[in-house]
């Protein structure tokens, strides 16, 4: 089975202070229309992108995160459900900081092609920056069974905590969605230490979608990619696809350490031919003209095909999880965490 995926980056321009949620939705729908024409099954939006789709005229740039009220919450869920249903995709609908019982959680959302909310996942580990604005870590990790595989989230900072990936992998996760955005710097090496290595030590697929721009007085950086176990990727690099804007940076950073390594990395998606959108999608896009160029915001797609059967073959040949040593872990977990 082949699952076609789209990771959609969002870049906020330096002067971004306001935009129309309606226009933003039109831009998103244009991207999804093209994706639908390509037969995409699964789409991931970036971290904090939920804030951009709230029906407010402008985004708050105060030093506290926007607290989503119930009306805005409902509107967001309705919007994302509609979009998922309209374009017949499983949709990782970005994230929102939400408030429950006075605590702020960083929450990701998964919608089905029928427009139903399949599940939510709170970020379970916090960085110093996130603690500074009061994020509370979640306390459970879920895997969602779907016809395209078992899906799960690594939200934000969770990509740098291997406990999370391991728990999801042993719950059977096939494809992990990682909406990630963090304060600068966020280098290729940071990404390698994050989602890339989560994939390598758990052998699941993963999508990363990032938001880049200034938020709450902090410069945030996102990176887009689709990952798989090294054995099934170009040059055994662990990358199935890279965001074009990251390409030159990665080339410079990796080549300095080992020049031959970059030749294994996949070409940026824009260098690949894109399938013509279906007639229905094209007609709809024509009927709702693309918004005028918004210098304040742009989308950057990263697409890939996940070969589930090939992954099973890789795992059969190198069954990494079967090489774990539970006797060792039972001796120390969880009490060893209390030693700090």
């Amino acid at each position: 089975m082949i699952v076609k995926v789209l990771s959609l980056q969002i870049k906020l321009g330096p002067e971004a202070t306001r935009w129309s949620a309606t226009d933003l939705r039109a831009g998103l729908e244009a991207e999804l229309g093209l994706a639908q024409g390509d037969g995409v099954d699964l789409v991931l939006l970036p971290a904090f992108s939920g804030l951009l789709f709230l029906p407010t005229a402008e985004l708050s740039f105060s030093r506290r995160p926007v607290e989503v009220g119930q009306d805005a919450w409902d509107s967001f869920l309705n919007t994302m459900g509609e979009v998922a249903q309209q374009y017949q995709v499983f949709l990782g609908a970005g994230t929102l900081p939400v408030v429950e019982e006075g605590r702020i959680y960083h929450r990701a959302f998964l919608f089905s092609p029928e427009g139903e909310l399949l599940g939510m996942q709170d970020q379970t580990h916090t960085s110093a920056w996130e603690r500074s604005w009061g994020m509370t870590p979640g306390e459970k990790l879920e895997v969602f069974a779907t016809p395209i595989g078992r899906l799960a989230f690594l939200v934000g900072t969770d990509v740098w905590y291997p406990e999370v990936g391991r728990i999801l992998a042993l719950q059977g996760a096939d494809i992990v969605l990682a909406p990630v955005s963090r304060p600068l710097p966020y280098s290729f090496w940071s990404q390698g230490a994050g989602l890339w290595q989560q994939v390598q030590q758990n052998q699941f697929f993963a999508l990363e979608a990032g938001l880049t721009g200034r938020l709450w007085g902090t410069e945030l950086r996102g990176r887009g990619a689709v990952f798989a176990p090294c054995e099934m990727t170009p040059g055994e690099s662990g990358f199935l696809a890279l965001a074009p804007s990251d390409g030159e940076e990665i080339r410079a950073e990796v080549s300095r350490v080992y020049p031959e390594a970059f030749t294994g990395l996949p070409l940026p998606p824009t260098a690949q031919a894109r399938a013509e959108p279906s007639a229905a999608a094209f007609a709809r896009i024509a009927a709702s003209p693309l918004p005028a160029a918004q210098p304040s915001l742009e989308f950057e797609p990263v697409t890939a095909e996940l070969d589930l059967a090939r992954r099973q073959q890789v795992v059969a040949e190198y069954p990494l999880l079967r090489l774990l040593n539970p006797s060792l872990y039972r001796r120390y977990f969880p009490t060893v965490y209390r030693s700090l």
Binding site: R131, G192, A193, C230, G235, L324, Y329
Partner: protein, 375 residues
């Protein structure tokens, strides 16, 4: 006939023990030159106990990239190790680490083994030598007493003579219960054995060989910090480094013997991300070359959290070649590591509630036993 076979076996055992006499090794090594080092003074030992002589927070370490070869005598082994330690100490190293399977070449003590090099693999050579009923582990069990004497005498003496901390890489040795383990030893500058660490995670081949994995992750104290020495495949799993760092290790040595063609990305799957996850320094000595059909590649290196590396790539020093013998050196700034952990809030980020909910129960869902495990 059975008595005659037993007699021959016993004669071989005595022959191996004679050839592995620690006193021969000690006398042999004492004939070489040893420079004075900060840890080895003319007056004798320094006080390394807590509250003793003040120790700098900087530690110079060496990762040895060593070519594998069949070694037919204790003296040849001792001289090989001596040369590499001397090279490291000449560069100012205070802790020197050797690769996984450093002692494996001592199978060359078996008369005529070199004639089996064409067998294409170690298990193929064993089969040709002894038939289907003998596992690779059985060979190392037989050789174990001799290997242990040579390996331990070599590293203990060199640690004392050079006045440095030595990680002996690893050797395949029998325990008291007869199980053969892949074990690393850590020696202090007075030649004393500070501890041993068994490899806890195997590749399928090691299960097929009949080896036994360890079930404990130890840390060892030095005047600078605590050190852990898990082995090779142990670095494929975050659990290893997490256990080491949570028990106080700030330096983790991963002796490695990687049996595959070098690939930058696949090599990146071991010690490098583990260092980033657990905010420790990592030392990766590598065994390279070819033995009995097994091709080994490396790129020994010394790694740090991204923010503590000059280029922000987590690399303090790395061998230029993945197949040539060399020694890689770097300075570890332990105070900088501690400060980084404080600034990043490393300890505050852990979610103990989450771990108590899922660990270790989640490991009940491991999808099957290790392949090749005959137990």
């Amino acid at each position: 006939m059975q008595f005659w076979e037993q007699l021959k076996e016993q004669a071989l055992r005595y022959y191996l023990l004679w050839r592995s006499d620690p006193r021969r090794i000690s006398r042999f090594l004492s004939r070489f030159e040893y420079p004075q080092t900060p840890l080895r003074t003319g007056a004798g030992t320094r006080d390394f106990s807590p509250g003793g002589d003040e120790v700098s927070s900087k530690l110079r370490v060496a990762a040895v990239q060593m070519r594998v070869e069949l070694v037919g005598s204790a003296e040849a082994y001792a001289e090989k190790i001596y040369r590499l330690v001397r090279q490291a100490v000449a560069g100012g190293a205070q802790l020197v680490a050797f690769p996984e399977d450093t002692a494996t070449g001592l199978i060359g003590l078996l008369p005529g083994l070199e004639k089996l090099a064409g067998a294409g693999s170690l298990e193929g050579a064993v089969k040709e030598m002894a038939g289907d009923q003998v596992q690779v582990a059985d060979v190392f069990r037989f050789l174990g007493p001799a290997t242990r004497r040579i390996h331990e005498a070599t590293f203990s003496n060199l640690a004392r003579l050079f006045g440095v901390y030595l990680v002996s890489g690893s050797a395949l040795l029998p325990r008291d219960d007869g199980q053969v383990v892949n074990v690393a030893h850590f020696y202090g500058p007075d030649g004393r054995l500070l501890g041993a660490q068994e490899k806890c995670h195997f590749i399928p081949l090691e299960w097929e060989w009949g080896l036994q994995p360890g079930n404990e992750l130890r840390v060892f104290s030095t005047p600078w910090t605590k050190v852990a020495t898990p082995i090779c495949m142990d670095a494929s799993f975050f659990e290893t480094f997490r256990l080491a760092s949570l028990q106080g290790a700030e330096v983790v040595v991963i002796p490695t013997a990687n049996p595959e063609e070098y690939n930058f990305w696949k090599a990146l799957r071991g010690i490098w991300p583990r260092v980033q996850e657990s905010y420790v320094y990592g030392i990766n000595p590598c065994l390279v070359g070819e033995l009995m059909g097994i091709k080994l590649t490396g790129r020994a290196g010394i790694f740090a959290p991204l923010a503590l590396s000059p280029a922000g790539d987590g690399i303090l020093a790395q061998a230029a070649s993945f197949k040539e013998e060399t020694v890689v050196l770097a300075d570890l700034d332990l105070e900088a590591l501690r400060q980084l952990r404080r600034e990043e809030g490393w300890a505050e980020g852990f979610n103990r509630t989450l771990y108590e909910k899922y660990l270790p129960q989640i490991y009940d869902f491991i999808p099957g036993p290790p392949p090749g495990n005959r137990r």
